[in-house]
């Protein structure tokens, strides 16, 4: 699991462009937005009218001491009852649908984009960051644009409605009541902003704590062996103490907020009691009118507090919107041109009928490659590998082995020069075409949660069980798989956590084989497998590799001695090339690397014997 510490975001100015883009996402479900707002309008109207009905009861029925008009009152009430029930229902259904549809659409586009972005994007972007965009940002945004937006309309309309009714019915009392409004709104906004900021800090602390729990759990073995329990706990205590401090602070702001709003409203009520009471006493206004104003003051609170809340949250939501739009609109650095997509299809829709068969001839022509950070790894690199050849890449860390492999896979593209597959620049055909013909086994293999069977079948979903077992037998994985209680149906756990690295390597090997690739890449594919197993695999591979082009990277040189050609790399250049025997005879770099493995006193001694 990944946890990512959220960065601090600044309150930025209102950005029309971002909001326009987000709102255009809402076009397909305009109907829901409109119906939701409509329900909010009706509810606001009811909230405004409702005290008027009670006023009617007081003035027209109770004061006149005649029950004649009671049926009207009841009739009004019944209408309101039904209206409220139906409108609340409508409001929730549509606001909720807007929320769901919007976040669905945002997630969908973002996820698709994630699969178009090249590796260089993932080199720079932590998984946690991506997760935060996909989950909390899309949730925040859709939340505020559905419930927030519709609540906002309700609150504004209700306040407007009440204000208008007050002004019409009694100007003097209306002005008295409204006099506290600016104070109410100002205070509300002040507190809301403060509270929101405090909560941001809490969230930040919270993600640190979560990260720390994660570290405490995944690092448990290391912590135990290094006896770092106390240290780690002290660090953790630092985090939770901060959390406590910030939380109490936030709660204090929140604790002051409601009471102070309440107090201001009370002042307004006090004023109305005095002035309204005087007017009642002089028969200028009715009891009902006095009631109406007192009732309206309390109806004012909720929308004011809510408005302040929504406005504050809109600022925050803008940050979410910016990051999401940024992700969705990111231009992938590696992509197929329009012409290519038209002929060969894109990553989602392969046009296999137009695909040429991939033979496996690979050629590097004056390839130069720079990472975005700037270091040049390959310069004017040339290499021609004929279809079916088995190539080993040897050299120290940083010599450029992985880069070459990544370029072949088109995970990266050459900064200059070109790579030809079957004689044509590989950019002339689609990424999907290449990848569909590629088998790639990594040193740190990634398995998906699910069973072993499902994982092997990932290479080719329509593979039969027999084929899966055959592939597993080839890579010597069958032995340990059948030892499990559930055999091929054994769940591998999240990321394959229930298997050892060596086992994962073998399964990912089987997964690559079952796809029947034309080009096979083994990047330290069996480094954690024991020598004997590896040796047996070697023999099998020899058979499997027939007719396929393969590139093998291995530190354990004993595993590559049978390659058709071994390339010894240093600083992005080929310094030696040949078969194992040839290179050994040369007695130069490869020879040194090879014998280094065995160079030791014991060998010397055993020679003397």
């Amino acid at each position: 699991m990944n946890y990512f510490e959220e960065e601090e975001y600044q309150d930025s100015k209102f950005d029309v462009k971002v909001w326009y883009k987000i709102f255009s996402y809402m076009k397909p479900f305009k109907r829901n937005v409109i119906l939701g707002i409509l329900a909010a309008v009706v509810l606001a109207a009811i909230d405004t009218i409702y005290p008027l009905i009670n006023k009617y009861a007081i003035d027209e029925i109770i004061e006149t001491r005649s029950l004649e008009k009671l049926p009207y009152f009841i009739a009004f009430y019944v209408v309101i009852m039904f209206l409220i029930g139906i409108m609340v229902y409508t409001f929730i259904i549509h606001a909720g649908q807007v929320q769901q549809k919007l976040s669905f659409a945002l997630r969908k586009d973002a996820f698709k984009k994630l699969h178009e972005l090249p590796f260089s994007y993932y080199d720079k972007t932590p998984v946690g960051w991506i997760m935060a965009r996909m989950t909390s940002d899309s949730r925040n945004l859709s939340d505020i644009l559905s419930w927030g937006l519709i609540d906002l309309s309700w609150g504004m309309l209700m306040m407007t409605g009440i204000t208008i009714v007050m002004l019409i019915t009694n100007l003097k009392l209306a002005l008295i009541t409204l006099s506290v409004l600016p104070l109410l709104i100002g205070l509300s906004i002040y507190f809301r902003t403060k509270i929101l900021k405090a909560y941001r800090k809490i969230r930040k602390e919270n993600s640190k704590i979560t990260g720390s729990f994660n570290e405490g759990i995944t690092g448990a073995k290391t912590t135990k062996t290094l006896v770092l329990e106390k240290e780690n706990f002290n660090d953790f205590d630092g985090l939770t103490s901060n959390m406590k401090r910030h939380s109490i602070r936030a709660a204090m702001f929140a604790g002051l907020y409601f009471p102070s709003i309440l107090f201001i409203a009370t002042i307004a009520t006090g004023l109305v009691i005095y002035y309204g009471g005087m007017d009642v006493n002089s028969d200028i206004i009715t009891f009902g009118m006095l009631y109406l104003f007192i009732a309206y003051i309390s109806s004012f609170f909720e929308p004011v507090m809510q408005l302040a809340n929504i406005l504050a949250r809109f600022q925050q939501a803008q940050a979410s919107a910016e990051r999401l739009i940024d992700l969705i609109e990111k231009e992938p650095e590696i992509f197929d041109t329009k012409d290519v997509v038209e002929k060969y299809g894109d990553a989602i829709n392969f046009k296999k009928e137009n695909w040429e068969e991939l033979i496996g001839d690979v050629e590097f022509k004056n390839v130069t490659f720079k990472y975005s950070k700037g270091e040049t790894v390959l310069k004017d690199f040339n290499l021609h590998v004929k279809a079916g050849q088995n190539i080993a890449l040897v050299g120290q860390t940083g010599a450029g082995k992985s880069t070459i492999v990544n370029l072949i896979c088109r995970f990266y593209e050459p900064t200059s020069g070109e790579i030809l597959i079957d004689g044509r620049d590989y950019k002339e055909r689609s990424i999907g075409w290449l990848h569909d013909n590629l088998g790639y086994v990594l040193q740190s293999p990634h398995l998906f949660s699910g069973s072993i069977l499902e994982n092997i079948r990932y290479g080719r979903p329509d593979a039969t069980i027999e084929e899966v077992i055959y592939a597993s037998k080839l890579v010597e994985a069958d032995n340990f798989i059948v030892e499990f209680k559930d055999g091929y149906d054994t769940e591998v756990g999240e990321g394959g956590t229930r298997l050892s690295v060596g086992q994962k390597q073998l399964i990912s090997f089987a997964r690559a084989l079952i796809a029947n690739p034309k080009i096979l890449i083994l990047d330290e594919a069996t480094s954690s497998v024991d020598t004997k197993t590896e040796k047996s695999i070697q023999r099998a591979i020899k058979i499997v590799l027939e007719g396929r082009t393969s590139f093998v990277i291995a530190h354990r040189l004993s595993t590559i001695t049978s390659s058709d050609s071994i390339l010894v790399l240093e600083d992005g250049k080929i310094i030696e090339e040949g078969t194992h025997k040839e290179l050994i005879k040369l007695e130069k770099h490869y020879f040194k690397l090879y014998t280094n493995q065995f160079k030791s006193k014991v060998i010397e001694e055993s020679k003397n014997e």
Partner: protein
């Protein structure tokens, strides 16, 4: 009763504050139910000259000779009274925040400590995500329960109670009428929230599934791309995403019906109370001010009823959370019954017929293991994946406890040695070491915080790490992990080696810890290490036979048993598994011969 205990046990040390907050809260509810009476007093007493329902002590404050003075007085008293309420409210909230956060703080720390002290076998079975969720979400659930819900229940009950009390002082019959439908509201709300939990759970599951898909797809992006499976992933995700939306819709429909429906019912109660209230008012049973007060009181009963039903219906959540936390807390820490004995450890290690088997396994992982390593000697353990090598290492530092036989350090059974003391004396360098999300410098110096800088750099140099670190933009202050760089497997292993170099230990274990380092670096490191760790007892687990052969003693494990042991020379002469491995890895000609045969 057990439940009650469970609810309160995390509150330890905070009950006093809880009591204070509760008393303040109760008094607040009483004051709140007085406010409608101020209006009643204004209308009925001041303006109509009828009886006041305000309590006597407040009425006494309101005596004046003219109506104007009376109105002014009541307005002022009303505001002052509200001020008092507000002050109590603020104090109550502060106290509340204080103890709530204290409780949460204690919970987090207790859990963290507990988790660190749980045994290795617990950790190897536990799901990280699940544990984290317990420590975060479940703690939060309880925090909300203690800080908000429990208090809220108290608030609602007293608010309703005081309201009923005030109402019945005005009209007993009206009070009864106001309570006709309210129990129904409570019932509906309670049952609804009890039932809707299942759907909530489904929504959560759907969401978790969707999140997992994103997570897996993003972390496994290399595989997805290499197999051209973008479409599969996108389809899978959209499927998950749609299921999640569908579940949300179901929830939404229920929510809409509930809120719309209960609003409807609540207004029936309003209508009933008010209609009859009007009737009584017209007949002179109620005064107009009392009628207006009833308008407020109905609201103080019906809305809280629904809220109360909701909270009580939601109770289950907290119970589940607490059960889940208990599942962690009730597991014994591995330091229970740990020995206090801290004997000197020089490096003499002896295994005497040691056997080990997991409780839930049907066959032993290790059988009858016996060997002896003298101080300063090195021993290599060779064998296939699954032959029991790692288990053996886990036994040495008691991450696992052997059921059979004895492991002795300088003649003392390790079960009689304090665990932390033992681990402090045995350094382990793992195949996949864990790096903490701190700087590289801190990760290396973690074993010896006081080591001078030179020494840290020197350690990194010996481990062939210095140049790698210098290549990072931030050098030694580069952060490791999500917030910084991701190190390769080999780099991690070298960090683990460097950190061991800063703390001399009598026993060292290399658990295949150079597997991801290239051969040349491997040799470089080993040469340097041989110099540095001359007097240390060294255990080496390795696949590289050339690493093993340098050891003073070599044992070959197969299926949990020692099948061969001796020196490199003697094992070669024995011509067993070891000799075979040696052949595979060294004898090129032999190799070719075999391969050629295989191909033809």
């Amino acid at each position: 009763m057990k439940r009650l205990k469970q609810f309160f046990k995390w509150m330890k040390g905070n009950k006093r504050y809880y009591l204070v907050a509760s008393l303040l809260l109760i008094s607040l509810q009483y004051f709140r139910t007085l406010t409608p009476l101020f209006i009643q007093h204004t209308i009925d007493t001041i303006l109509l000259g009828k009886e006041s329902n305000l309590p006597g002590f407040i009425q006494n404050l309101l005596n004046a000779d003219t109506v104007q003075k009376q109105l002014l007085l009541i307005a002022v008293v009303y505001v002052l009274f509200a001020l008092m309420r507000v002050i109590i409210m603020v104090i109550r909230r502060f106290v509340n925040a204080f103890f709530t956060e204290r409780i949460a703080y204690n919970m987090r720390n207790t859990l963290y400590k507990k988790i660190q002290n749980l045994s290795f076998s617990y950790h190897s079975k536990a799901e990280t995500g699940d544990l984290i969720q317990r420590c975060t979400t479940d703690v939060e659930t309880y925090r909300v329960f203690v800080g908000e819900q429990l208090i809220e229940i108290l608030r609602l009950i007293f608010l309703m109670g005081f309201s009923i009390m005030q109402m019945s002082r005005m009209s007993g019959r009206m009070t009864l009428i106001s309570l006709v439908i309210t129990p129904v509201i409570f019932g509906i709300s309670f049952i609804y929230f009890l039932k809707v939990k299942k759907i909530f759970k489904k929504v959560e599951e759907a969401e978790a599934k969707m999140t997992t898909t994103i997570q897996e797809s993003v972390t496994g992006i290399r595989v997805v791309k290499a197999f051209a499976k973008e479409k599969v992933e996108i389809d899978k995700f959209n499927g998950n995403s749609e299921v999640y939306m569908e579940e949300q819709y179901k929830l939404l429909r229920l929510m809409a019906i509930f809120w719309g429906g209960t609003d409807f019912i609540i207004f029936i109660q309003y209508c009933l109370t008010l209609s009859i209230g009007i009737y009584y008012s017209v007949n002179g049973v109620l005064d107009p001010g009392q009628f207006i007060a009833f308008l407020s009181y109905v609201g103080m009963i019906v809305w809280p009823m629904r809220q109360l039903g909701r909270i009580v219906g939601d109770f289950g959540k907290t119970t589940v959370a607490l059960d889940r936390l208990d599942e962690i807390m009730l597991v014994d820490s591995e330091y229970v019954n740990d020995s206090d004995n801290k004997p000197e450890i020089t490096g003499l290690v002896e295994f005497k017929n040691v056997g080990f088997q997991f409780d839930d396994d049907d066959k032993p992982l290790l059988k009858n293991i016996s060997f002896k390593v003298n101080k300063g000697e090195s021993i290599a353990i060779v064998g296939k994946t699954g032959s029991g090598k790692s288990t053996l290492i886990n036994l040495i530092i008691r991450l696992l406890d052997n059921q059979e036989g004895k492991i002795e350090f300088d003649g003392v059974d390790i079960k009689d040695i304090n665990k932390k003391h033992l681990r402090e004396n045995v350094g382990i360098i793992m195949q996949e070491p864990f790096l903490y999300s701190r700087t590289l410098y801190d990760n290396i110096s973690i074993m010896n915080k006081n080591a001078p800088e030179d020494q840290v750099y020197q350690a990194a140099t010996i481990a062939s790490l210095h140049d790698d670190i210098k290549a990072f933009e931030g050098g030694y202050s580069t952060m490791v992990g999500e917030r910084g760089v991701t190190l390769s497997g080999g780099q991690k292993q070298r960090v683990a080696i460097a950190r061991m170099l800063l703390n001399d230990k009598p026993v060292l274990v290399f658990d295949d810890s150079l597997s991801a380092v290239d051969t040349e670096t491997d040799i470089q490191i080993r040469n340097a290490l041989n110099k540095h760790w001359k007097n240390t007892t060294v255990f080496i687990i390795t696949h590289r036979i050339t690493t093993a052969m340098e050891a003073d003693k070599i044992i070959v494990l197969d299926k949990g048993e020692i099948v061969e042991s001796g020196t490199h020379q003697s094992l070669l002469r024995d011509d067993g598994i070891y000799a075979q491995l040696w052949d595979i890895q060294t004898n090129v000609e032999y190799d070719f011969m075999k391969l050629d045969k295989g191909v033809e």
